[in-house]
C-alpha cells in the first residue's frame, strides 16, 4: 500500500464517518432524546439521495433543452459535459438538492407521523416507518424515472467542478461534507443542551407524565421526527454526491440497523455517544472492506463482509451485557439552573 492509497482510504473513511455521524446524531435526537422508534431512518436518507440524482439528471435535460431518457448514455454524457461547460451549475444543483432533500424528507416524515398519530403505541410508528422505507426502495428500484431503477443513476457531477482538476474538486467536496457534519453536531448540541432537551427527555421517559405536566408529546415528537428526517435527507444528498451515483438497492434496512447499532453502542441520549458509536461502526465497516482487498491480494479466501456482521453482533452483545448505557452513558442536561443546584449541594456537603 503506497502513501496515496493510504491518504485516499483515510479521506474516504472520514467522508463515510461524517455521513454516518449526521445520521446517528439525528437518530439520537429522535430516539435517544425523544423516544421515537425510527426504524425507517434509511427512508429519509434515501430521499436525500434520490433528490440529488433526480435533480441533477432532470435539470441537465432542461438546461440543454433536450428530453433524453435520464438513464441513457447520452444523458450521462450530457450531465458531465454540461458541468464542464457551465462549471458553477453543479454547485447550484448541489445546494438545490440539499434544500430539496431536507424538505422532502421532512414532508414525508410529517405525513407518516400524522398517519399514525392517533395510535399511542410508539412501535406502530416504528413499523410504519420501517415498511415505508422498504416499500419506497422496491418502488424506486422498479420505477426508472426516479433514479433509473435497479441500474442506478450515474454521472452526478462534483459540485466543485469549477475548481478545475478532479482532485481539488473531490477534496473540496470532502471538506464540505465534514463541515456540514460539524455544523450538524453543533446545531443538535446547541438545541438540546437546554430546557427544550429536558422536555424531550421527559416525553421519552414518561409520555403520560409529560402530557399531565403541560408538554405536548405528540406535537413535539412530530417536530423532532421532521427535523431528524431533514438531517437524514441532507446526509443522503452528501452520500449521493460523494459517490457520484444513486441506486435504490443501496438503501436497505441494514443501513437503518447500522445507525441503531451506532447509537446503542455509543450511548443513547448524549451526542458524544453518537459521535463515538458511529466512529466504531464506520471503522468496522471500512476496516473490513480494506481487509477484504488486502486478503484478496494475498489470495487468502476469507469473506470479511460477513466478518463485519459478526464483529458488530459480538460488540452489541458485549455492550448490552457489560455497559447497557453504551460507551458514553447519558448525563444530566446541565443548564445554568441545574448547575446552580449542583453547586449548592456541594457547598452544603463541605
Amino acid at each position: 500500500m503506497d502513501f496515496n492509497q493510504l491518504i485516499s482510504i483515510i479521506v474516504s473513511t472520514a467522508n463515510f464517518y461524517a455521513i454516518w455521524l449526521i445520521l446517528s446524531l439525528s437518530l439520537n435526537y429522535e430516539y435517544g432524546y425523544t423516544g421515537i422508534l425510527n426504524f425507517g431512518k434509511v427512508l429519509f436518507f434515501s430521499l436525500g439521495a434520490y433528490s440529488s440524482g433526480f435533480l441533477a439528471a432532470n435539470l441537465a435535460n432542461i438546461m440543454a433543452g433536450v428530453s433524453f431518457d435520464i438513464c441513457s448514455v447520452e444523458a450521462v454524457q450530457l450531465r458531465l459535459d454540461l458541468a464542464k461547460a457551465v462549471p458553477q451549475l453543479p454547485l447550484l444543483v448541489f445546494v438545490a438538492s440539499l434544500i430539496m432533500g431536507a424538505a422532502l424528507s421532512a414532508a414525508v416524515a410529517y405525513l407518516l407521523y400524522i398517519s399514525t398519530s392517533r395510535i399511542k403505541e410508539g412501535f406502530v410508528l416504528g413499523i410504519i416507518l420501517l415498511s415505508a422505507g422498504e416499500t419506497s426502495r422496491i418502488v424506486v428500484r422498479n420505477y426508472e424515472p426516479v433514479v433509473c431503477g435497479y441500474h442506478g443513476l450515474v454521472g452526478i457531477p462534483n459540485p466543485y467542478t469549477a475548481a478545475g482538476d478532479p482532485t481539488s474538486a473531490s477534496f473540496l467536496l470532502s471538506i464540505t461534507i465534514w463541515v456540514i457534519a460539524g455544523v450538524a453536531f453543533l446545531f443538535i448540541n446547541k438545541l438540546t443542551a437546554t430546557p427544550y432537551g429536558r422536555k424531550l427527555k421527559a416525553i421519552r421517559d414518561n409520555e403520560l407524565a409529560a402530557d399531565i405536566y403541560g408538554k405536548k408529546p405528540s406535537h413535539e415528537r412530530r417536530k423532532v421526527l421532521m427535523i431528524g428526517s431533514a438531517m437524514a435527507g441532507v446526509a443522503g444528498v452528501l452520500y449521493a454526491y460523494y459517490l457520484g451515483f444513486v441506486a435504490a438497492d443501496d438503501f436497505t434496512s441494514l443501513k437503518t440497523f447500522d445507525i441503531w447499532v451506532a447509537v446503542m453502542l455509543g450511548g443513547v441520549g448524549n451526542h458524544l455517544g453518537a459521535v463515538t458509536g458511529s466512529l466504531v461502526v464506520t471503522l468496522i465497516d471500512r476496516g473490513t472492506r480494506v481487509l477484504r482487498v488486502f486478503l484478496a491480494n494475498l489470495s487468502i479466501p476469507l469473506e470479511t463482509l460477513y466478518l463485519r456482521w459478526i464483529i458488530v453482533g459480538v460488540l452489541m452483545l458485549l455492550i448490552l451485557m457489560y455497559r447497557p448505557a453504551g460507551i458514553i452513558p447519558e448525563k444530566s442536561i446541565k443548564t445554568l439552573g441545574l448547575l446552580r443546584i449542583i453547586e449548592r449541594i456541594k457547598r452544603e456537603k463541605t
Binding site: 430546557p195 421519552r204 403520560l208 405536566y213 408538554k215 441520549g269 445554568l336
Partner: protein, 249 residues
C-alpha cells in the same frame, strides 16, 4: 371552581363511575375516600383529561374541559400527582422538579437556541426547586436518578412536582401511601401551609382517614362509582353508610 356533572365511565361493562357529580369551591381542602376500586383514581383521570367520560361533563372555571387534552388542562391550572409514581426515571430528582413550571422560554424549539432568552428564568427556577427540595427533605438525593431512590421519596417527588406547577387546583392521589407516618404528618402540614400561603385548592384521595379528617374541610365518600355520602368530616364519620361501605354490608 370545578364541577363534575353526572359523569359516567365504564371499562368493558364495568361501571367505574356512575353519574357522579362533585362540586369543588376555591380555597378548601377536599377529601375523597372509598374502598379500592370505587372509582377515585378514575375520577382524577377524567378531570385531568387522561380519560374521556362516556357521558356527563367537567367544568373548570366556567369552561368545559372534558374535551381537552391533559396538557391544555394543566395549563388552565389543574395539576395532579399519581398513586403509583410516574416519574421521569432516567432523569435526576432535581430535573424532575425543574420540568413542571409553565411557560419556560427555553423549552421552546426556536428560543432554545438563544441562551440569553432563557437562562435567567432557568436560574430563578432553580431557586424554587431548591426550596421544594428543602421542604420535602430531598436535598440529599437531588442529583440521584429518580429511579434510584426509595418508594417513599418517589411519592414525595410526585408531591414536589405539583408544588412546582403554580396551579389553582391540586389533585393528590394517595400522597402518603408508602411514606412513614411521621413524614405523612409532615406532608399534611406542608399541604396546609401551601394552601394557606398560596390560596390553593386541594382534592386529596387518602387512606389515612385520621389525617385526612383532621385537615379536610369537606369529604366525598365513593362507592361503586357513586357518591354515597358527603359533607363535613364529622358528618361523614358519623354516617352509617361509611361502615356499610367498608364492611360490605
Amino acid at each position: 371552581m370545578l364541577v363534575v356533572d353526572r359523569v359516567s365511565k365504564s371499562f368493558k361493562g364495568l361501571k367505574a363511575l356512575d353519574e357522579i357529580s362533585i362540586n369543588i369551591k376555591p380555597g378548601h381542602i377536599y377529601g375523597i375516600i372509598g374502598p379500592n376500586g370505587s372509582g377515585k383514581t378514575t375520577l382524577f383521570n377524567i378531570i385531568t383529561g387522561v380519560l374521556k367520560p362516556d357521558s356527563g361533563q367537567v367544568i373548570f372555571d366556567g369552561r368545559r374541559i372534558d374535551v381537552l387534552e391533559p396538557n391544555s388542562i394543566y395549563n388552565l391550572g389543574i395539576t395532579r400527582s399519581f398513586q403509583l409514581p410516574t416519574l421521569w426515571l432516567n432523569m435526576s430528582v432535581a430535573e424532575n422538579l425543574m420540568l413542571p413550571p409553565k411557560q419556560q422560554v427555553g423549552e421552546n424549539l426556536r428560543k432554545a437556541f438563544f441562551k440569553k432568552a432563557w437562562e435567567t428564568q432557568d436560574m430563578q427556577l432553580s431557586d424554587m426547586v431548591w426550596q421544594t427540595l428543602e421542604t420535602l427533605r430531598l436535598k440529599q438525593v437531588a442529583l440521584n436518578k429518580s429511579s434510584e431512590i426509595s418508594g417513599g421519596q418517589m411519592k414525595l417527588i410526585e408531591l414536589g412536582r405539583t408544588m412546582m406547577s403554580n396551579p389553582k387546583l391540586v389533585l393528590l392521589d394517595e400522597p402518603t401511601a408508602g411514606v412513614n407516618p411521621a413524614l405523612a404528618l409532615e406532608i399534611f402540614k406542608i399541604i396546609k401551609e401551601i394552601k394557606q400561603s398560596m390560596g390553593l385548592t386541594y382534592v386529596i384521595i387518602e387512606h389515612r382517614y385520621d389525617m385526612l379528617f383532621a385537615n379536610a374541610d369537606y369529604i366525598y365518600l365513593l362507592n361503586e362509582g357513586k357518591v354515597v355520602s358527603e359533607g363535613s368530616p364529622e358528618k361523614v364519620i358519623n354516617d352509617p353508610v361509611l361502615a356499610e361501605v367498608y364492611l360490605g354490608a
